[in-house]
């Protein structure tokens, strides 16, 4: 089934004093994929940027660079995209024909293909494969377990054993901290799933994007209450990359829009920037809408 969305993502920074220059990179443009078409997209920056340019990164993501040189106390970055999604969620039970170690070995048996994805089996800036991870991942990824069941259990356990709590983690929270506190937000859960799969030798990547939310029955849809989202993608022989959402304990389907992927959050933050100011105060407000058309 085809769905069309308009995705609006607006970030507003407010500072206590004049900022003389801002430099930024935004990963806000959805990717073009077989199961997802980005029909249009634009990123706007206010005050008017001295330079706004698009680029494609190492992972093939589309990103936007901007410079603002007009002194400002407020900076707004807004992205508006029109996306058509035809994705159907992965059929996990169908993957139970092989064990996960078989899957890994099957991937490795194709050296040319393996060389292209081996980067997604290595440790990355945020994801060391040591510390408390082997114990956590080892309990779930036991030898001889069927692939589909293992994947479902992984997202299920993360969903059930970890509390969702916004504000408890920062962009620099480590995996060990997440494992210790047993709580986090979507990027922590995605990171944990990615690292567990890599620990087992399976190529896994971190995906940044959006999910459509629906208001409780009978209530109107509120504006700006949606948010950017993150989940895990794992490579499966014969099938390809399949996406799973540990935050919501489900497979990723036509409710989701993919923006960018990388090794972990640090490769694809929705927005990062550097400012020149003497101001010590700043605040940030994000408003996201995923509107089904």
């Amino acid at each position: 089934m085809t769905r069309r969305y308009e995705v609006r993502h607006r970030t507003e920074y407010t500072y206590g004093d004049a900022v003389t220059a801002s430099y930024g990179w935004a990963y806000l443009t959805p990717r073009d994929l077989p199961e997802q078409a980005c029909l249009s997209s634009r990123v706007e920056v206010a005050p008017s940027p001295g330079l706004l340019s698009d680029g494609v990164d190492f992972f093939g993501n589309r990103a936007t660079y901007f410079e603002v040189h007009e002194p400002h106390e407020q900076l707004t970055v807004s992205a508006t995209s029109l996306v058509e999604v035809t994705r159907t969620g992965a059929d996990l039970p169908a993957l139970d024909g092989i064990t996960w170690p078989d899957a890994r070995d099957a991937l490795r048996a194709d050296p040319a293909r393996w060389r292209e994805v081996v980067g997604f089996t290595l440790a990355s800036p945020q994801l060391s494969l040591g510390g408390g991870l082997p114990e956590f991942a080892g309990r779930l990824l036991r030898p001889g377990r069927p692939l589909g069941t293992t994947l479902r259990e992984l997202v299920h356990v993360i969903h059930d054993d970890f509390a969702y709590r916004s504000g408890t983690t920062t962009v620099t929270t480590t995996l060990d901290e997440v494992l210790q506190r047993r709580e986090g937000v979507c990027q922590d859960f995605a990171n944990l799933a990615v690292a567990s799969l890599r620990w087992a030798g399976l190529p896994a990547r971190y995906v940044s994007g959006y999910i459509e939310t629906r208001p409780p029955a009978g209530q109107p849809r509120l504006q700006g209450v949606d948010a950017s989202h993150a989940w895990v993608s794992v490579l499966v022989p014969q099938v390809g990359w399949i996406d799973l959402d540990p935050t919501n304990d489900q497979v990723v389907d036509e409710q989701y829009v993919v923006t960018a992927w990388g090794r972990d959050y640090t490769d694809v933050p929705p927005l990062k920037g550097v400012i020149f100011t003497e101001s010590t105060k700043s605040s940030m407000r994000v408003a996201v809408d995923v509107i089904r058309l």
Partner: protein, 898 residues
């Protein structure tokens, strides 16, 4: 008899001693098979053949060494050490509590025969070419990974592989512009030990080594037909111009440095001098609309090419390490857009990777269609299962190296590890095999170094330098030699205390056209092999500020030394006679000293201290970490000089080095009986030499005018402060006489005063001479006149991107206001003390008699001092409007709904 004959005949020569030790050592190695470490076979020596004969190219050196004898060689060693110290040649951090590390150089060069160099060179060039092709592929199509010629993990797991640099290309055929290769000579010839591709350091040191050795070993240098180094630096200049973005007509090149705290700050500053490109820090640059600009005095100047000495990950806090204070936000995007060329490209550290070594022979055949000419030290990469098995089975006889350098990632010598450490290492390798490599410990050749007990053999590593220009690599005909700190050690690193060696490549016997090819050393100026290029591009705001402060601190130090000397003299004469006239004036001057140097409470707080002033006077002289002291001002002077060293003459280092030594001496002499006045005189001598150099040896450009402006402002403020605090009150005539005389001596105007105004000094006369007299070079009015000249020569206020938002006041307008105020003043009015009849009762002074405040004078001088301080701020605000440091935008984790 020729020199060589003397060498051969000298039965008791020190070369014979070295030979005997060498042959004995070989014998032991041959008989025991394996010595204390698992090196493969006995090491070769650079000076001697296996049979003890002197090697080709070394005969003259051997003869010279024997002729000079142990004593003569020790003198040359000492001379080299002193020259390095005098020229301020440092290695390691300079600023902070630690004394700067000195560059250590052996006076004996390493000699590479013409034939040997001709055999080594093609292999070095080929390796640089191969590295260039690898770099182009790794940040481009990555075919080598796709085809499996390089296992992807060697690259993808390497900390130097920078994904954000993907697709950044330099214009022109070469991506790796500067390459350095460390080579060693094993039993079977030269082999590569490692590659330096990030931002190779040492070319400047190599040139400095040549300068020193050519002066220390003058005769040998003059008589040797050796290849010169300078053409390499010409090639570097050409190479940097060639890679400029095509739109740049006369490309501007800068050298991006981490700053004066960098370990190799000397190397960078000397390179800047040799190439004629300004040294800039990240904060000196800014990106605007995708172009890089240098914040300069005057107006921002576009930058086309950056020779990078900042590590890749630190170059851009926007895309790379957000905590970096060394980089420039937006720099990577400017490079990506092709508007600036960064040399070497920021991601080039990926090639500093021993994990690549096992694959180089196959890569050479695939990419160059030729076998690898220069062998590498046998190396294994643990990411390969077969290699890993071999390494784990031979941990005790290999050198284990992480594929990427980093903190706590030093090489580990397997045979030195405890069983426990070996187990730990095994576990680390098994957990992350692709991050580890292992090398065979090679029996590196030894070279003789001069020690207190004669010549001693030390393992040698030679760093060779290559630069790509016109589509091919050119080598420095020489290099940076380094030898281990101790005999028998395989650790040859500057951090490990290695000693440097000059490397002489002997020229071909056929002499080519004049100016090209090898030349015998020239006799003039000690045969310096250096031709500095004047720095053409403008002055960065940071350097401008450092010059200004260099002037201010040098003057502050000079004034503090004079005032301290006067106080110390008075203390020597009068301390033991409380109640006397002399003691009264001593007390006045000591309190003035505390006030002028703002080192409260000091003498202002305690009568006891005045009765026993020696300890506090010593402290004010030698405590380098208390602001206001003489030592602090000298330290700041030296630091400021280090920050702008590329602009100063080498004689400056002679002076600063001497100053450093005097301070050190002072610091040691904390005993109560130290002769403070004569020690202060020695410091003063050094400071006078510094100001003499500034006057006589520096070109009158913007940087000089800024330094002079700093000096003038500081001197004016010091004089005003001295007058304000010493003459604030009128004392009985006998005390006043001594105080006025002390003020005149401190202000270096006593002779002038005596010549102009015979008789005892009067306040109005002193004020006239020190405030108003335009001809007195120590007076305030004179400083303002000179300051006016300086400011007139400086450019108007620049428009500074990313600077502070406030509007700077024009310093020239402020200066006119100060001058007008001085012109209106009536020194007779000012010098009058308030009459007791007005109701103000005087306090009782030390001498037990009444003192009367000079209220009008104090009010006037306080106001004048404040105006001078504001003027200094205006100069700073106008010319050094520095950027505030970049900070990251706030970030919150992705928040979402579920």
């Amino acid at each position: 008899m020729t020199l060589a004959d003397i060498g051969r005949d000298g039965a008791s020569g020190i070369v014979d001693g070295y030979r005997a030790a060498y042959l004995q050592g070989r014998l032991e190695v041959d008989s025991s098979g394996r010595p204390d470490r698992p090196v493969s076979g006995p090491a070769a020596d650079e000076l001697l053949e296996r049979d003890g004969a002197v090697r080709s190219g070394w005969q003259d050196l051997a003869a010279t060494v024997d002729l000079l004898g142990a004593e003569g060689m020790r003198r040359r060693d000492e001379q080299a050490r002193r020259l390095l110290e005098d020229e301020g040649v440092t290695y390691g951090s300079v600023v902070g509590d630690e004394a700067p590390g000195r560059w250590r150089l052996d006076p004996l060069p390493v000699i590479v025969d013409h034939q040997e160099w001709a055999e080594l060179s093609p292999g070095l060039i080929q390796r640089a070419e191969l590295m260039d092709l690898l770099l182009a592929d790794l940040y481009g199509p990555r075919d080598l990974l796709r085809r499996g010629l390089i296992p992807p993990a060697v690259v993808l797991a390497h900390a130097g592989f920078m994904r954000p640099c993907d697709g950044i290309r330099l214009p022109g055929p070469s991506q790796l512009v500067m390459a350095a290769i460390d080579v060693v000579r094993g039993p079977h010839g030269w082999m590569a030990l490692g590659d330096r591709t990030q931002a190779p350091s040492g070319a400047g040191y190599a040139m400095e080594n040549r300068r020193i050795v050519s002066r220390v070993m003058t005769g040998l240098y003059r008589d040797t037909l050796l290849e010169r180094l300078r053409s390499f630096f010409h090639a570097v200049r050409a190479a940097l111009h060639e890679v400029a973005p095509s739109v740049a007509e006369a490309p501007r090149v800068v050298i991006l440095t981490p700053g004066p705290n960098s370990e190799t700050a000397f190397d960078q500053a000397f390179l800047s001098t040799l190439l004629g490109f300004p040294l800039v820090e990240g904060q000196d640059l800014t990106v605007r609309d995708g172009r890089v600009w240098m914040r300069s005095l005057g107006r921002p100047e576009p930058v086309d090419v950056i020779l990078r000495r900042v590590d890749g990950w630190f170059c851009d806090p926007l895309e790379l390490r957000a905590d970096s204070r060394l980089g420039v936000p937006g720099l990577l995007q400017a490079a990506r857009l092709g508007r600036v060329s960064i040399v070497n490209p920021p991601g080039s550290a990926v090639l500093e990777n021993p994990g690549l070594v096992p694959f180089l022979p196959a890569l050479s055949r695939a990419l160059l269609d030729a076998p690898l000419l220069l062998d590498s030290v046998p190396t294994w990469w643990c990411g390969d299962p077969d290699h890993r098995r071999f390494v784990l089975a031979n941990l005790d006889r290999l050198v284990l190296r992480p594929i990427a350098r980093g903190i706590g990632r030093a090489n580990r010598f397997g045979w030195e590890l405890s069983a426990e450490a070996r187990t730990l290492l095994r576990a680390r390798i098994e957990a992350e095999p692709h991050a580890w490599s292992a090398q065979e410990p090679v029996a590196m050749s030894t070279a003789p170094v001069m020690t207190s007990s004669g010549l001693s053999p030390r393992s040698l590593v030679l760093r060779s330098f290559a630069v790509a220009t016109g589509g091919r690599f050119r080598l420095m005909a020489g290099g940076l030699g380094r030898v281990a700190a101790t005999p028998g050690s395989l650790d040859v690193s500057s951090l490990g205390g290695a000693l440097a060696k000059d490397v002489w490549v002997i020229g071909a016997r056929t002499v080519t056209a004049a100016g090209a090819g090898p030349q015998r050393g020239l006799a003039s100026r000690g045969g310096d092999d250096v031709d500095p290029v004047p720095i053409a591009t403008g002055l960065s705001s940071r350097v401008a500020e450092d010059m200004f402060w260099l002037g201010r601190y040098a003057e502050r130090a000079e004034d503090a030394a004079r005032l301290l000397r006067v106080a110390a003299d008075l203390a020597g004469d009068h301390t033991r006679r409380p109640g006397s006239v002399g003691f009264g004036s001593l007390a006045v001057m000591l309190r003035a000293l505390t006030a002028v140097t703002t080192t409260y409470p000091g003498f202002a707080g305690s009568a006891d201290l005045i009765a026993r002033p020696q300890a506090e006077l010593v402290r004010l002289s030698v405590d380098a970490f208390a602001p206001g002291t003489l030592a602090h001002a000298v330290r700041r002077t030296v630091e400021a000089a280090h920050s702008v060293r590329e602009l100063l003459s080498t004689d400056t280092w002679l002076v600063l080095g001497a100053l450093d030594r005097v301070l050190l001496e002072l610091g040691r002499a904390r005993e109560p009986d130290v002769d403070l006045p004569s020690a202060l005189s020695r410091v003063l001598e050094g400071l006078l030499a510094l100001s003499g150099l500034a006057m006589e040896s520096m070109v009158r450009d913007w940087s000089w005018h800024l330094m002079d402006a700093g000096r003038r402002l500081e001197r004016a403020m010091q004089v005003v402060a001295l007058l304000r605090h010493a003459l604030a009150e009128r004392y009985p005539a006998a005390v006043d006489d001594v105080v006025l005389e002390s003020v005149l001596i401190s202000a270096e105007s006593i002779i002038t005063h005596r010549r102009r105004r015979p008789g005892r000094p009067r306040v109005d006369g002193v004020l006239d001479l020190l405030l108003l007299d335009r001809d007195n070079p120590r007076g305030v009015q004179h400083q303002l006149d000179r300051l006016g000249d300086d400011l007139a020569r400086l450019p108007a206020a620049p428009a500074v991107p990313n600077g502070a938002a406030s509007e700077p006041a024009d310093p020239r307008a402020r200066l006119l206001a100060v001058q007008a105020r001085l012109q209106e003043v009536d020194v007779h009015e000012l010098s009058r003390a308030a009459e007791p009849a007005t109701g103000a009762t005087g306090a009782t002074g030390e001498a037990g008699r009444e003192t009367i405040p000079r209220t009008a004078l104090v009010t006037f001088l306080d106001g004048l001092w404040q105006e001078l301080a504001d003027l200094a701020d205006a100069v700073a605000a106008t010319h050094f409007a520095r950027a505030v440091p970049p900070t990251p935008m706030p970030a919150t984790p992705t928040v979402d709904v579920r």
